[in-house]
Amino acid sequence: MADTAQTVTDERLKQEGFGARLMKRPELGAIAGVILVTTFFLITADSTMFTLSGIMNFMTPAAQLGILAIGAAMLMIGGEFDLSIGSMVAFAGLIFGACVVTLGLPLILAIPLTLAVAAGLGAVNGVIVLKTGLPSFIVTLAFLFILRGASLVGLKLASGGSTQLRGVRDAIEGDWLAPMFSGDAFGPIFAWLAQIGLIDTFKNGTPKVPGVPVEILWFIALALVATYVLLRTPQGNWIFASGGDRNAASNSGVPVRKVKISLFMVTALCGALVAIITVMDAGSTDARRGFMKEFEAIIAAVIGGCLLTGGYGSAIGAFFGAIIFGMVTIGLTYTDFDQDWFQIFLGGMLLIAVLFNNYIRKRVTGER
């Protein structure tokens, strides 16, 4: 057979630096955005923003958004949308709250039940999309309304007339599973660090940062798992393929239906996880939880480099996208700008962060 040595020194390739190769990965572009935003706040914001407690402070909402964003990113890579995740947060919160408060179930039952309901609803979304061939945008939009409405009706039933269901904190008091989903992790370590003076303390000696909020751990764990799945497993390959070209994937033997339905379920599960964490943290749930979160999750995924048309993106990108979004929303409060300008600022920062990310990537990869 015709054969020439296929070595790295193909004369048709220019040398490229390590940095250039790094920047080609979609997720690493988003890091440029993070750096830009951080620099901006380092200059303009109060210095407390980047103390340990300040970082935990903006990372908490970023993590909650990020868990949704990772789900949304995987689904987007798979070529579909789920506009119902925000409502899913409210609905799963209701289910969870009702299980814990109204039915008095222990967490070991309540959590799997909530997750199962969410996964079931995700599967319904997926099956409708795939059976009918309708765009997922419109199907999940219907579920956005339906689940939001169902949360309201259900809450009124469960709480006897109010739109808020409370008493979750009392109900889970002492449950051994609770620390997995609420509060702060590594408390003892932080207490020790405070003792030896590495962390600031309040006057009474308790550390200013009692630990790492669990959602941040979940967020990081999820980003790692999702990245592993996307890059290292056949299922990840199938997700890219299904989103890249549905027909081509199916013709090549990828079980597109199964992949997409699973993705809808995963996204719904992410919504339910956020619901469980926030309900346990807040001790209550109400009908407006998760409002507009579906859009924020998609925004974060897109900032992180996911293509809306599917087939391209990364979980790590969504991770950084969520951090950018979280930093920008919370960060302005640390600055001296007039807060009326909040939305102008949010929009401007988003635009600049993405433009910068894009500019850097083009410079580095030399795309025309």
């Binding site: 909402p61 739109t163 409370r166």
Partner: protein, 286 residues
């Protein structure tokens, strides 16, 4: 009889769900057939269309809130011209008479905010923030404006979205970056009041920073009774739903109508009263 209520707040808003509960209670008590309607967001254009739709059905009575008199006046006038008895509630006490409404039940957002501001100033507050979860909603903006006028000191409005985690983080950020802040005013109890209390606790300044909020929620009231928060402003909005409907029912049956406006608030719930209100709040009555 048929009575229609058109309000600018949504059924899933904690405040308005209490109004709606009042409406429903009145419906049950009077036997009237009552419908509660509202636009999906704070949308004056859509609200005027909802009033038009109500007028088309020629009910025996119409209850409206009037957060924007300019936008809603043509529709309300049309109702009055069509001979439908109209009662305004919640907002719009200033224009109610001119538009031809029989009377107004409620309390002005601005007045309530002002009363709260004065109270917080008297508790020693000098630097405050007003946390607004829906900037641009005129009804909410008026609360902040009233608060700022009554408070006297320096007030900054912190805009947030409908997310407790974000509210908590932002309040914390504000408290950390400006240690002079000694007053937090929230525009909703469950969405802003509760996370604000948590944020104050997280920076270790419980008791030093006065947290107050509009409207009630059971958890916030518990904080008030424990002394972690200053007070909640109760408009007794249950009355804003209940009274107009009963008045209109009575009017339809017997031609009765009170002679003047009914102020339903403001009513500051402080530590001493908080404990009793908790249960009622949990049931969506206060």
């Amino acid at each position: 009889q048929d009575i229609i209520v058109v309000a600018h707040g949504q059924a899933n808003d904690p405040f308005w769900s209490v109004v709606k509960n009042g409406v429903e209670k009145a419906a049950k008590d009077t036997g009237a057939n009552v419908d509660f309607r509202s636009p999906e967001t704070f949308d004056m254009v859509q609200m005027s269309q909802l009033i038009d739709a109500a007028v088309n059905q020629e009910p025996d009575g119409l209850v409206v809130s009037i957060p924007d008199a300019d936008a809603l006046s043509p529709s309300i006038r049309r109702a009055v011209e069509a001979g439908i008895p109209v009662i305004s509630m919640n907002s719009g006490s200033d224009v109610s008479k001119d538009l031809g409404a029989l009377l107004h039940v409620g309390q002005d957002e601005y007045t309530a905010g002002k009363a709260a501001g004065e109270k917080l100033a008297s508790m020693g507050g000098t630097v405050g923030i007003c946390v607004n979860q829906e900037v641009g909603n005129v009804a909410l903006d008026l609360r902040c404006q009233g608060f700022s006028d009554g408070f006297g000191g320096s007030v900054e409005v912190i805009p947030t979205q409908n997310d407790p985690a974000e509210v908590e983080a932002k309040v914390k950020a504000a408290l950390e970056s400006n240690p002079d802040i000694d007053t937090v005013m929230g525009l909703g109890a469950s969405l802003v009041g509760e996370p604000s209390v948590r944020a104050v606790a997280a920076v270790g300044r419980t008791g030093e920073v006065n947290v107050a909020t509009f409207d009630l929620s059971a958890s916030f009231l518990e904080s008030v009774s424990k002394g972690e928060a200053a007070f909640a402003i109760d408009q007794q909005q249950f009355l804003q739903g209940y009274l107009p409907v009963s008045f209109l029912a009575l009017n339809a049956n017997y031609g009765l109508i009170p002679g003047g406006n009914v102020p339903s608030g403001p009513n500051l719930i402080t530590q001493d009263k908080a404990a009793q209100v908790v249960e009622l709040s949990a049931e969506g009555i206060r």
